[in-house]
Amino acid sequence: MAAIYKVSYVVTGEDHPGAILNVDHMPEVGEKVELGRRRFVVVEVFELVPPRGEFHFLHATLAADDE
């Protein structure tokens, strides 16, 4: 089975709750992410804990996308 990335998204600079969800690719810095009706840009990604089986556990920091 292909890798599954469980990602914790946290938004900086504003009072936004962020999200946790499974995605099928590893987020990259500069990538655009939509949460609800808002669009953000990834500014930081790191591994929160080591992978287990097909699951990878990541933490991504988001900022408002000004573009």
Partner: protein
Amino acid sequence: MDLLGILKRVELFEGLRPDQLEAVGRICRERRYASGELVTGQGDPAEELFIVCEGFVEIVLDSASETGAPRTVVSLGPGQIVGEMGLVDYGPRSANVRATSDITVVQVIQRKDFEDLCERDNQLGYFVMRNMAADLSFKLRRTNYAER
């Protein structure tokens, strides 16, 4: 995607054999919610575990004061579990869970069915309980990083 395909992508069931996943599938019941609908309410008895399969739910805390506004602490999307705290500690729901997508699909497992399955198949019970502890740990680590 069929139910087994969905369950394979849920961390809670990581490590289970196909026949064990099928046993889990037999105790799942699908529910659908529209945006804004309450899945479970803060203070309610916790008798069910929810698995988000499609869409998002938000976890909302009521204010401690009567005049304060509710606060959304996180949104949970596909593959995430909700309601695991009450399932293991038998306490009431600690937050409101509300659907936020136009179509939100969850699989629901009753506590009794869950406990019976874990007792019948101890290996399955070990994996699921380990994964549930890991999920709670993930959420705690997230909170710690978010508050840096």
